[in-house]
Symmetry: C2
Subunit: 271 residues, 2 copies
């Protein structure tokens, strides 16, 4: 059987994928795009049932043979396409020749919160796609139970967020929406202490109580957490700044906090 090859960059199918670069189209259609072999591999490994279509150009078909086979085994429709079609599919500077169209994977907030063990991360009004994606990747690495993005945050399915997660989008539960006060209340109801991470915090990270289930509340990259939001937390914790730096950026501060929690978990419950 000779597979048919997509050759027309102006085909309706191609335009429909390209349009998924816009948030409104993603929301209306309930689809988003995963661009590049790393993301495609992780969604095929961790959530193959959410993959609707796979697009590959000739070079990628050879280079990523195993991935393509994985998709075929999962009965996913694999469309071979010309490089010109690939360029038209996604708005990327360096297309990598392999693109998947997928359904969302976010879960309800209640499911993300799970029980009261370990730690979760709540991102309040995080707007920069790279920061949001990087924090999700760090949360995965540090062993967070889940990540929750408050409303007024960047869209989880923004192509830059998806890329910055480096596949972690499919590795842990991620929930969307709710205002920050509601999310804090939900964490508390589940028996999680809420620790706001903020440069204005009075508790230094090494002195913070990381025993028991908790939630890290992380603020916007530019203005942090406002006073009202900080007041909702059980404690406001700051990463110590030893030199003359004004602060750490959001992703770095979040990662240092989460690894402190991970280290505490690894040591087991305090005696």
């Amino acid at each position: 059987m000779t597979p048919s090859v997509l050759t027309n960059p102006r085909a309706e199918r191609v335009k429909a994928v390209r349009a998924l670069g816009r948030r409104s189209v993603r929301q209306r259609s309930g689809r988003f795009v995963v661009d590049g072999p790393q993301g495609v591999r992780e969604v095929l490994r961790f959530a193959p049932h959410t993959v609707l279509d796979l697009y590959v150009d000739g070079a990628a078909l050879d280079r990523h043979e195993t991935l393509v086979q994985l998709a075929r085994d999962a009965n996913i429709h694999v469309h071979q396409c010309d490089p010109a079609v690939m360029t038209a599919l996604v708005d990327t500077q360096h297309p990598q020749g392999i693109v998947a169209v997928c359904r969302p994977v976010d879960v309800p907030v209640a499911d993300a919160l799970g029980d009261d063990t370990g730690f979760v991360v709540v991102l309040a009004h995080v707007r920069d796609p790279g920061n949001a994606g990087t924090v999700i990747r760090s949360a995965d690495a540090a062993g967070a139970r889940a990540v929750i993005l408050s409303d007024a945050s960047v869209d989880l399915y923004n192509p830059k967020v998806v890329r910055s997660t480096a596949g972690s989008l499919w590795h842990l539960p991620i929930a969307l929406g709710g205002d920050v006060a509601e999310l804090v209340a939900a964490c508390r109801e589940r028996g999680r202490r809420v620790l706001a991470a903020d440069g204005a915090g009075s508790t230094l990270l090494p002195d913070a109580d990381l025993s028991g289930g908790h939630a890290w509340l992380m603020g916007n990259e530019a203005w942090g957490l406002d006073e009202t939001t900080r007041a909702l937390a059980d404690d406001v914790v700051r990463v110590p700044i030893h030199g003359h730096a004004e602060s750490l950026n959001l992703a770095l501060a979040a990662t240092v906090c989460m690894y402190a929690s991970a280290e505490h978990n690894a040591q087991g419950p305090a005696s």
Copy 2:
């Protein structure tokens, strides 16, 4: 006295500043550009003697009055310029109306290594400007004694590196050059243990010996440290990955390692 205002975007002086976007021109002239109020403020605070000229447009002159006064007090020539000249001075998407032309601030490797206390960071072949700048910012925040960039690393005075340091460029000693093997040998001669940070490390970060003076050796963002380089180190340390993430990016891994050292320092010498 009415200050003269630069109005011609094609003036030789303006072209000469713009040309500092190129590494070869920076090296030949021994000058580089600091773009935006944060960098300008930090260089004026920490190394005013290295500032040769300050360029401000009308809006920035009002908005950053204190900065401009600081420059005038230090006898730095302040050039007021039209917005069109500002746009011509630097290759930035969003010019912030204030630009300084400065002399380098790097120090010899021997000075950066200092004595054998605390920790330093050696960046081996780090190529991405944002990563290099961010690690310098983190090193500052974590209290590193110095940062050393091996040869074949990105240019410290690349505008994107300068911007990503968020002012930390002037907060701690930074040295340039030397191949990695020489730098490792120099660290050892000063009594510093060398810890390579690498996902292939056999020692987990919480188990690493961070007592006494040491140097963190960080590899390239894409390929890490090669086997030969890892073999030079006293130990190869990896940040634990608890979830399904493949790795942390360079800046995040480096920050977690440096904060582990900082925390160890804060607790004082082990009993």
